[in-house]
Symmetry: D2
Subunit: 279 residues, 4 copies
C-alpha cells in the first residue's frame, strides 16, 4: 500500500506541503500511522502543473528509492511552485521497485495515483490487460495494478467523464475478479486530474476502504485558528486531499466517507456517492 | 541494441572473461566496435550457475546503470566462479531503463538474452502479448521485445525443444509483423540455456543480422598459440559465444553464419541451419 | 544507526542467515525492534570470503537503497556460500546515502562495520581526518564517521593488533572529542575481520552502548533443541554476532556486556574487557 | 573529464538549451566530439536559480547515471524556466560515481562546476584538504578534485573576489603539486556564479587547456541569421559558455583563449587574462 497527497489552491513551493507539516508526507514515508505498512520506501513520485499558467502536460518526477533521504526531491520541492500537484510514496507488495511502477502515472494532461490493490492481481492481470484499448496498450510501461486501472479508466472514457469512467473501471475489475472467484476485487483510494479539476475516490468491494481525508474550507479554518499565518496566505479555494492527516490542527481534517468521491473545482467543491457501474 | 557473451567450460572467475581480455565486454560497454551503438550504458546483467554443481536456478544480477563503472559487478566477477554464465550490456532504443528490462531473463532453470529488435514493436506488442500462455503472462515484468520473445518461446515449447520453440517464436513474430505491414519484423542474436546445454541463434528477417562469433576449439588454439598460459588452464570443451570478438588473438574467433544456430553441449558442439517455422 | 550481523562457521548460503530466520536482518531493515530507528533503509552491504578457501580479499557488495526490496542481494544470497561474512543495513542520520558510505568497508584483506556514531562528528571530523596516516588518507572515499574510525584503527595498528588498535582509536576519538567539549564522543558496536579471526566490540563513552548479541555454542543449543535440523548441519565452531537477535529460539542469544569485546577464532572463542587507550 | 554548459539571459525552459540544439549537451553525454572521453555517462547535474526572481540559493539536482536516458532530467527541463543555470555531464577517471561527486557543487548562493583534473590528485589530496578553512572542511561530502578546488576557492575569498580567489586557488594547487614533484598540476575549465554574475575560467599549468567556447553576442547573430526565430526571442544579453559548441550555426561560437577568464554580467561582459597567484 501507499500514501498520497493532492493539493489544489494558491501556488506554493511544494516543500510547504511536502516537508513542513508536522506529520508530513515525507515523514509518513518513514512513519505512517494509518497505512497498512508503516514504511513507504519503495519509490515515490511528484507531479505538478507549472504555476505560470502554461497549458500542457504536468511534470512527473518518479524515483525508486525512499523519499525521506532523496535530496533531489528536496531541491525540487524547495524551488518549484505549483497550484496543483500530486505526491505519492510507495510500499510495494511484491511488484518490482522501478520508476515505471512509481506514481503518479501520466497520459497527456492527465495524472493518476492510487493507494490500495486489486486482489489476486497476478491471476486476473491478463484479462484486465486485454480490456485496455489496443491503441493505449503499448503505452503501458510498468507492471502494477495501479497503472492498469488508469489505462482501463482511460479506455472507458476518463477524459470525457472521469467519475463515470472510474465507476465503469471498478465495475469491470469487479466483474473480472468475480469471474475468477475473487470475492472482493477492489481496494482503492484514487486521485485524478487534468490540471484544473481534481477528483478523489474512496471505495472498496468489501466496504472497508483505506483512509482518505480532505481539508476543511480555509475560511472556516481561519475562524478556528486566527493566529495561523499560513492560513492568511492561501486562498479560500485551497484544498488538500490526503491518505492520512498532516499535522494535528484541530478541525482541519475530515474523513471522506466510504463509497464516495469528491470534486475539487473552480466554483465549488462537491462530494458525491460512488457506485461501480457493471460492465 | 546490445552486446552479449556466453561462456561454457572450465570453471573460471567471471572476471577472467568479463574484464581481462583486451576488448572485453566491459570495455565494449564504453567502446563497442561492431554494435549499432558504440555505447551500451543502459543497464547490464550477469547470470551464472553455481560452480559447486548444485542443481537449480541460476543467479541473475541485473542493474540499470552502465557496467563500466559498476563496482558491485567487479566484486562479483572477482569472487564468483562458474562453468556456465551469461553477461549482457544494454543500449536501450527508448524502452525504459529499469532492472526488469535488463538481460538475462530467467524462468526456472532457463536463461535468455538477446541483441536486436522486433521492428515496430510498439505496434505489434499487444498481439504478441496475447499469444503468451495465460499462465505465463502474469510473470512478464518488463516492457522489452526481448522478454516477450522469451515468453513466446516458453509458450511454444522452449523447455522441451529449444531450437524448435525459437523457430516457432520467430515464425509467429514474422506472421504478426507481416499482418501489421512490417516488412522485416525480426532482428536477433539470442542465447539460451538450462544450465547444461547452450543454444545461440543468429537470424534476421532481412538476412542482415547482427554480428555473432564463436571461439575456436581450445585444442586448435593451443597449437596456434603454444605460449598462452590461459589456454593450458581451460578444458578442450571450453567455448565462448560473443556479439563481437574479445581481444585480437589470431585464429580465435569465427563468425556464426546468417540463419544459423549453434549448440554447445557435452559430447560435441553443433552448428545447424535456422529456419523460422510458420505459426 | 544501523543493524549488522557477522557469521563465522560452516559454509552456508548467505540466504540461510540473511533471509530465513524469523526476525532476519532483512526483516530488521523494515522493522527493527531494538534499533534507535525502526527502519534501516539507507543502504546496505554484504562482504564475504570465498568458501573455496582462496586466499585474498573479500568481495564487498554495497548498495544505496533498502535491503528489503533489493533483488540482487537476494540473488547473491541464494547462490553464494561462505564460511565468514558480514552484512549491514544502514539508517543514515544525515550523511549522504551513497555507496561509499555503506558498510562493510574494506582495506586489503580487512573488513569493518559499525553501528553507532561519533557525537558532534561534524565538528571534530577534520581533526580526526588529520590523524589518519597520510599514506592511507587518499583512500578515504566516503563521508561517514564509521569509515574514518576504520582508517584511524588502520593507522594505529589494526593489522598487527586489532584489539589494541581499536582501543587506541577510541582513546583518540575521546581525546579529540573532549578537546572540543564533547562529553561522550563514542557510541559503537564494531565488527572487524581479516578472514580468519573476527573481533566484535561493544563500547560507548557514556557506558550505555547499542545492543550486541552472540549466539550460544552450537553443542549447547543442540542439547536444548534436539529437533532442529539446522543445528545438526553446522559445526560446533559456528557463531553469529548480531545487533539484535534473529528469531526467538530460547537460549540461543546472549548479550555482549558493556565495554567488552569478543574474538571468534579457531581453537576457542574469547570474551575480554575493552578499555580505550589514551592517545 | 566532463562537459558543461552555463546559460545566462532571457528566462527559458531548460530543455530549449539542454535538449533541442543539434549537438546538445545531452547528446554530448553519448557522443562528445572534443572531450578526452567520448562518453560522459558517470553522473550529471543541473543547477538553476528560480526565474521568479526569488532571492536565495539555486536548486541543484544531481544524479549518478547517464543523462541521456534520465527521464526526470527531461521532465525538469521541460517544466522549469530559468535565466541562469548550469548543466554538467561527468566522465569519471576512477573516483566513485556518487551523487556527491556530480557537479555543480553549491555553497550558499554559489555554484561551481569543473572540467579537467588535478594531476596526481591521489597523492596531493591530503595536503590540499588541510588547506581548506576548518569551518568549511566538514561540508566536503564527496571525493573529487573538483569539489576540493571549490572549497579551496571559498577558503581563499571566492565570495568577495571570485577571479582573485580562483587565481589563488590555482596558485596553491600548483605550489603543492610542484612540492610533490608534479610538473603540471592543474588542468581546468571552471564556471562559477552567485546568481547574478557568471565567471568562466580556462587554464592549465601546461598551457594546453580543455576546450571552452562562448556564444557570439545575440545582436550580431541576428544580423548573420535573420531567419532564426529563436534569436528574436532572446535578449541581447543572453550568453552561453560551453565545453564544446552546440549545433553548427556559423559564427555562433568563439573559443575562449588559453589562460583567460570571462565575466557575464549586467552592464557588459568582459574577457581578461588569467594568471595564477602564488600562495
Amino acid at each position: 500500500m501507499c500514501r498520497w497527497l493532492a493539493y489544489s489552491g494558491t501556488p506554493v513551493l511544494l516543500e510547504a506541503i511536502l516537508y513542513r507539516p508536522a506529520h508530513s508526507l515525507i515523514d509518513q514515508s518513514l512513519h505512517s500511522k494509518m497505512g497498512v505498512e508503516t514504511t513507504n520506501g519503495d519509490g515515490f513520485g511528484v507531479g505538478w502543473y507549472a504555476s505560470d499558467g502554461a497549458a500542457g502536460t504536468p511534470a512527473v518526477v518518479r524515483e525508486i528509492g525512499p523519499a525521506w533521504s532523496n535530496r533531489n526531491l528536496r531541491e525540487i520541492a524547495g524551488h518549484v511552485r505549483s497550484s496543483l500537484f500530486f505526491a505519492h510514496i510507495r510500499a510495494s507488495t511484491g511488484t518490482a521497485v522501478q520508476q515505471t511502477n512509481s506514481h503518479p502515472f501520466r497520459h497527456g494532461r492527465w495524472m493518476w495515483m492510487h493507494n490500495g490493490a486489486i486482489a489476486d492481481f497476478h491471476r486476473i492481470r491478463r484479462d484486465l490487460a486485454l480490456a485496455v484499448d489496443p491503441l493505449l496498450f503499448p503505452d503501458i510501461e510498468g507492471s502494477t495494478d495501479s497503472e492498469l486501472m488508469f489505462f482501463l479508466a482511460l479506455t472507458l472514457g476518463l477524459e470525457e467523464d472521469p467519475p463515470g469512467a472510474v465507476a465503469r473501471m471498478v465495475g469491470l475489475v469487479e466483474r473480472v475478479g468475480h469471474a475468477h472467484g475473487v470475492e472482493f476485487p477492489v481496494q482503492m483510494t484514487v486521485a485524478v486530474t487534468e490540471g484544473e479539476r481534481l477528483w478523489a475516490f474512496r471505495y472498496s468491494s468489501q466496504g472497508s476502504s483505506r483512509s482518505l481525508f480532505y481539508s476543511t474550507r480555509v475560511e472556516a479554518l481561519r475562524e478556528l485558528h486566527p493566529d495561523m499565518a499560513f492560513l492568511r496566505e492561501v486562498s479560500d479555494e485551497t484544498r488538500l486531499i490526503v491518505s492520512e492527516p498532516l499535522g494535528d490542527l484541530p478541525g482541519a481534517w475530515n474523513e471522506v466517507p466510504e463509497s464516495t468521491y469528491g470534486v475539487i473545482q473552480p466554483g465549488g467543491d462537491e462530494m458525491l456517492r460512488f457506485t461501480p457501474q457493471a460492465q
